[in-house]
């Protein structure tokens, strides 16, 4: 037993040089005692040779255990018997610790009195090891408190959001009745020629609509602040959007006898953005302009601008000849619940939330809003959005971005492998995994769909023959869900070598009745930017052709029609290749299958994008044919990997 509170045990050789080393030993002791950690050093035979006071305190180690008489195993057994490690088999705990001693390791241990120790043990050169104990009780408590606070805050936020969503529904339902019935009564009164009552009923109606606007604004803002406002990107036809905006703001303009001027080039084209949010933003700005301008002019100007850094933007300027604002008023403009002047609320109404919401929306769409104004000289509000919108979340918000078509980051392409054969998973993991693709695995269709819905992958490889539901059904379900329909699918099936390879020309098919939105999306996918492009519509039903023609022409493309496969081949022979072919399968004279096979045989049509239009139910024969002609087909039994890798890269870049 030693009198010192800390010890430096020395071997016989060392004792001979004690005089020389006395100074060093004192220094070492001082160092050890001034450390904020418990330190214990064991020699090659696991005997305690160096320790400090904190080590003794942390473990409540009795003095008789300190020193070379006992080994590490003795301490562990002693501590275990004392109940230090809880209700465990001491020999098992010891064996585990002895094994760990061979390497650097670190763990946390909660002692019976609640203190938390971080224990680090490191082997030292020449045998033995050093153990360092840190009391992390306070840190742990702080972490727990922080986590609890965070969970409480999140829970409160969830409750608040749910409350607001429910509340807004509860508020809107009676409000709908107030607005609706006052409208009905107003129509009745008008029929009876009771103009005085019409005026009063219209006031009820207007007040109801105003209240509805307030509720919607508050709900929007609370959603933005809770990070629950989703951005939904789609291809927006700007001139069409302007027409819609015009219909809505037109009556507001006439109210104050303002002239509404739209300055938008006819060839302004499209912008990939969130239509609802952009529209709402413009309506907010335009209704403000209409409100603060009397017998003046309000102008909406849309233009494409190329920035100095070469990035394109689309600029929306809303200019009015109204009352204008001072610098100071402009400074408060975008804050919630404030208008430029509190008296404006009395004079002009409004929630004071419109500009705040608009500012958030602009940020969520990757752009910004700015204002220029002078008192008495009118104002110009400008929203500038990037021509290529990569959705950005608003400041501080984490709104989910629903963009099924969004490109993956290079080198981070997620591939979901759906196959009931474990060998396929292994082969793909070994090859694609090495290429840097992130692989995820599903053993059947149900599991695959669950994974896709939870977190859509960039690509899916799909086996055809699987238990539960087969690959075609999975494909069908994917194509019917907006969140999944854009995910490129590669069918993996067993086919003979001569069919090995892929024909990407028709990596899509559509079901009837035709969904207009989806058709437009497909056209943009396969014929991007080709304003003069021609879409060849091959269908024996003139009604279908007319319907499709209408949709295609509405986006500014031309249409050529063919009533069967033979007519389509003749058209292809006589014209330049179209941007896209929409192909019905069941047709007289020459059906779609034959057309596909024949068109396929001509080299210049190998890359021709063909979208097959089908009834929802395919026969086995049709499925088989589609399997061979419209989707990527690979032979699992052959050597698919090189082809698959190339195909993946191709589709990934195509999809980008």
């Amino acid at each position: 037993m030693r009198p010192e509170i800390s010890g430096v045990e020395m071997g016989e050789n060392a004792a001979r040089d004690e005089m020389d080393h006395g100074n060093e030993a004192t220094l070492l002791r001082a160092t050890l005692e001034n450390m904020s950690q418990g330190v214990a050093m064991y020699d090659a035979r696991h005997r305690l040779v160096i320790w400090n006071q904190l080590f003794r305190d942390y473990l409540d180690m009795p003095d008789e255990f300190l020193g070379t008489e006992h080994t590490f195993s003795d301490y562990i057994r002693y501590l275990g018997e004392r109940g230090e490690f809880g209700d465990v088999d001491i020999e098992v705990a010891l064996a585990q610790r002895l094994k760990q001693l061979e390497t650097h390791h670190r763990f946390e241990r909660t002692r019976p009195d609640g203190t938390v120790l971080e224990v680090r043990r490191d082997p030292v050169p020449g045998g033995g090891f050093i153990a360092i104990y840190t009391d992390i009780t306070e840190r742990k408590q702080a972490e727990t408190k922080l986590r609890e606070a965070k969970e409480a805050a999140e829970s409160a936020s969830r409750v608040k959001s749910a409350f607001l969503a429910n509340m807004s529904h509860e508020l809107r339902t009676p409000l709908n009745a107030i607005i609706g019935y006052s409208e009905i009564l107003s129509e009745d009164a008008a029929d009876e020629g009771n103009t005085a009552m019409v005026a009063d009923l219209d006031k009820i109606q207007a007040a109801g609509k105003h209240l509805l606007g307030l509720i919607n604004d508050i709900l929007d803002l609370s959603k933005i602040e809770a990070g629950r406002m989703d951005v939904y990107l789609e291809q927006v036809f700007l001139s069409r959007m302007v027409e819609e905006v015009k219909t809505i703001v037109g009556p507001m303009m006439t109210k104050n006898a303002n002239e509404f001027v739209i300055d938008c080039p006819v060839d302004i084209g499209t912008l990939r953005t969130d239509l609802t949010k952009l529209k709402q933003s413009l309506i907010n700005l335009l209704s403000n302009a209409a409100k603060f301008t009397k017998q003046g002019t309000v102008t909406l100007r849309i233009s494409r601008v190329t920035q100095v850094d070469g990035c394109g933007t689309v600029r929306f300027d809303v200019t009015d000849s109204g009352i204008g604002m001072s610098e100071e008023q402009m400074g408060r403009l975008f804050q919630a619940f404030t208008q430029a002047d509190s008296s404006t609320t009395r004079n002009f109404g409004g929630t004071g939330l419109g500009l705040t919401i608009t500012k958030h929306f602009a940020a969520m769409l990757g752009g910004a809003i700015s204002v220029a104004s002078e008192p008495g000289k009118g104002s110009t509000f400008t929203i500038e959005l990037p021509a290529e919108t990569r959705a950005a979340a608003a400041d501080g918000s984490t709104g989910a971005v629903l963009d099924p078509g969004a490109p993956a980051e290079p080198g981070a392409i997620t591939v979901l492998v759906v196959d009931d054969d474990p060998a396929v998973h292994e082969v793909l993991a070994a090859t694609l995994g090495k290429e840097g693709y992130i692989l995820r695995h599903a053993r059947d269709g149900v599991e695959a769909l669950n994974i896709m819905r939870a977190d859509p992958p960039d690509l899916v490889t799909l086996d055809v023959m699987m238990p539960k539901i087969d690959g075609w059904s999975v494909l069908g379900i994917m194509k019917s869900e907006p969140a999944l329909e854009h995910i490129p699918v590669i069918m993996l099936t067993i086919v003979d070598d001569r069919n090995l390879g892929y024909s990407l020309g028709a990596s899509e098919y559509m079901t009837k009745p035709i969904d207009r939105q989806r058709l437009i999306a497909l056209i943009h996918k396969f014929a991007p930017g080709s304003e003069e492009g021609v879409v060849l519509v091959v269908d024996d039903d003139p009604q279908v052709r007319a319907l499709v023609r209408q949709t295609i022409e509405s986006v500014g493309l031309h249409v050529a029609e063919a009533a069967d496969g033979a007519e389509a081949l003749a058209w292809l022979d006589a014209h330049r290749p179209p941007s896209l072919v929409l192909l019905d399968l069941m047709m007289p004279v020459m059906d779609g299958f034959t057309f596909l096979a024949q068109a396929r045989a001509v080299p210049k049509f190998a890359e021709l994008p063909i979208v097959v239009l089908t009834a929802k139910e395919l026969t086995d024969h049709e499925r088989d044919f589609l399997a061979r002609n419209t989707l990527l087909i690979l032979n699992k039994s052959a050597q698919p990997i090189g082809t698959l890798g190339a195909a993946l890269a191709h589709i990934a870049s195509h999809n980008r």
Partner: protein, 123 residues
């Protein structure tokens, strides 16, 4: 008279909309849930269906899918009515097979415009 099937579970909304449709010269048939909507679409063969989306028994999306899956009723245009003015809701309704989409509270001139356009009636 042109027959419109209105599928709506909220009594006041149903009352308001049916009265205003009648006033505008339509014959209105009422269903109070999605299943009744599907049944009446088949039995009554209306010229057009106005379909609320949040409905009991069978929701509006599923009811629309069933109407569109039956060859006897597939040709009837369906206008989805929903309180949620979200692009996602619009797309979901379109994906279910709806031909048009409108948000509640209903603005009568706008809704009438859509009904007339789908039925090829003059304004």
């Amino acid at each position: 008279m042109t027959k419109i099937l209105l599928v709506e579970d909220n009594e006041m909304n149903r009352d308001m909309l049916s009265r205003r449709l009648s006033r505008n010269g339509f014959e209105v048939v009422i269903a109070v849930n999605g299943q009744e909507g599907v049944d009446l679409a088949l039995a009554e063969k209306p010229a057009l269906i106005l379909m609320d989306m949040s409905l009991p028994v069978l929701d509006g999306w599923e009811a629309t899918r069933r109407v569109k899956a039956n060859p006897e009723t597939a040709g009837i245009p369906v206008i989805a009515l929903t309180a949620h003015a979200m692009a996602k809701d619009r797309d979901d309704a379109m994906a279910a097979g709806c031909d048009e989409f409108d948000t509640k509270p209903v603005e009568m001139p706008r809704l009438l415009g859509k009904i007339r356009a789908l039925l090829g009636l003059p304004d």
